[in-house]
């Protein structure tokens, strides 16, 4: 299989986080002895050790199954037009403010109905996995869509390592809750921390991905670094970002958006052109970078792979 080629964005000589932090650096430097300022300032800006092995794994990533050959959405659009309310509700807020989040070190708690619970370093979760590239369509509940080359591994592979018990029926995810680093959390627009969940069979489905990279590079903070979920047949809000907890349980949980507006956002949130959002139609979507609109496909075009999961369900009721 030939690997899909895309132009990599030009790599900045100065790491982006350092560049974005330049004002703070200058502010902190003023009034101090120059030597002390440089010594103290630069020490904190070392290249994170994580980058080395993660870059290598990302370079080695082969193309996985289920990859679409549709035209990719521009890198700048994928990283500059985001819904990540932890950093603000405007589309550009995540790109403007996500640099305030420090993702290294990072740990994830895996607990509940598993044989091997615990809190694990990001490295220990990701290094044993073989990374793949998956080019997926992403359909936002707001009726826009993108085509995104993710790098990651199947969620099922991680869950198997921790041995789900027979009582594990649902997998619940939580985003980091830290208003210091995530300025959007200083206001109660949603009930923080953000929670999402999948049914066990959805979580174990080979399409369901945990992503650590985008466009062959480390995942940018605004896209949910260092670890995020990607469920391509569901509306984008299901694909929770910056995950710190994965909890397996028997009862169906209530997720953040479901709790905020249960008549508008269901637990399943499968892309479905026939079930309208109460305030807007879901039959068509705007593909970012295109003019006009496209017809939205059932299950975002992944029906062949996932329709059987819902064969005995009324999707108008369980939207």
């Amino acid at each position: 299989m030939t690997r899909y080629r895309y132009p990599l964005p030009p790599g900045p000589i100065t790491p982006e986080s350092v560049y974005r932090d330049r004002r703070r650096f200058l502010r902190q430097s003023s009034g101090l002895l120059l030597g002390a300022a440089l010594g103290g300032g630069l020490a904190g800006y070392g290249i994170p050790a994580r980058a080395d092995w993660l870059e290598e794994s990302l370079e080695a990533a082969g193309t996985g199954p289920h990859t679409t050959d549709e035209a990719l959405t521009d890198h700048d659009a994928v990283t500059g037009y985001n819904n990540f309310y932890e950093f603000g509700t405007r589309k550009r807020d995540p790109a403007d403010w996500a640099h305030q989040l420090d993702t290294d070190p990072w740990s994830v708690t895996i607990d509940g109905e598993v044989e091997k619970p615990g809190t694990f370093a990001f490295e220990d979760i990701v290094r044993p996995q073989t990374l793949e590239e998956r080019i997926y369509r992403l359909r936002c509940v707001e009726a826009w869509s993108m085509v995104i080359p993710w790098n990651g591994f199947e969620l099922g592979a991680l869950l198997k390592r921790h041995g789900p018990t027979s009582r594990a029926k649902y997998v619940v995810f939580e985003t980091l809750h830290d208003p210091e680093q995530m300025r959007g959390q200083r206001r109660d627009i949603l009930d923080w921390p953000y929670r999402e969940a999948l049914r066990m069979d959805e979580a174990m489905h080979p399409l369901t991905l945990l992503a650590v990279g985008l466009y062959g590079r480390e995942l940018p903070n605004q896209n949910g670094a260092p670890l995020r979920l990607v469920v391509p047949w569901k509306y984008g809000f299901k694909s929770i970002k910056s995950i710190v907890r994965i909890h397996l349980q028997e009862d169906r949980p209530t997720t953040t958006w479901e709790e905020a507006a249960p008549n508008e956002y269901g637990f399943y949130a499968n892309v479905n052109p026939e079930v309208s959002h109460p305030r807007w139609n879901q039959a068509r979507e705007r593909r970012i970078g295109e003019s006009g609109k496209r017809e939205t496909e059932m299950f975002n075009g992944y029906g062949e792979e996932v329709a059987h999961l819902y064969s005995d369900m009324d999707l108008t009721k369980h939207f």
Partner: protein, 198 residues
């Protein structure tokens, strides 16, 4: 007392309120500072600017009643027309840039998306107000007819706010500011009407 100088200053301020945001928008668009989808940002900016100016127009009546300074009434038409221009611009960015003048598609969208129909209704309610605002037209109309017609600003604003509210997913802060101002102005209007009747 009319204080002609103060009226001139207020007129200049209103012209600036109409023109400066347009200059800023053009400059930001050219510089690429409006984000990945500049037309979407520009459309939202035009909508909120128009809403702000329309609420400002509506506040001139109460300002006059409270101060008895007729200068407020002398500038009302000017401000109202700026609000109309921004709201028309808001709709034209949607129709021209976002829908690419595809009238058929645009109409289909209006039928599909209730918030678009609501916004269009608000704009249509404002159209007769804009058309009857020139002094020449106003003079030819009966005073009461004109006043009655221009009360359409209240349902137009209510529909405009509804159009805004229907698109919000979780963050109601900015909307609340506008809604509260509208509520206060509406309350003032009803209150003074009741007092006049007595």
């Amino acid at each position: 007392m009319r204080h002609p100088r103060l009226v001139i200053a207020l007129r200049l301020l209103i012209t600036a309120a109409g023109v400066v945001p347009a200059l800023w928008l053009a400059w930001a668009w050219r510089r690429g500072a409006l984000g990945i989808i500049p037309e979407e940002t520009a459309m939202h900016f035009a909508g909120t600017t128009g809403l702000f100016l329309l609420l400002a127009t509506l506040s001139l009546g109460p300002a006059f009643r409270l101060t008895r300074w007729s200068g407020f009434m002398a500038v009302r038409r000017r401000l109202g027309l700026w609000a109309w221009a921004w709201l028309l611009g808001h709709a034209l960015i949607w129709l021209g840039v976002i829908q690419g003048w595809a009238w058929g598609w645009a109409w289909k969208e209006v039928l599909d998306l209730p918030y678009l129909a609501t916004g269009l209704a608000a704009l249509l309610l404002l159209l007769p107000l804009a058309l009857t605002s020139p002094a020449m037209v106003k003079r030819r109309m009966k005073r009461q007819t004109w006043q009655w017609l221009h009360r359409l600003i209240y349902p137009a604003l209510a529909l405009g706010l509804l159009h805004y509210w229907m698109q919000i997913r979780a963050d109601y802060r900015e909307f609340t500011y506008y809604a509260v101002v509208f509520g206060v102005l509406l309350g003032f209007r009803i209150g003074s009407a009741l007092m006049d009747r007595r």
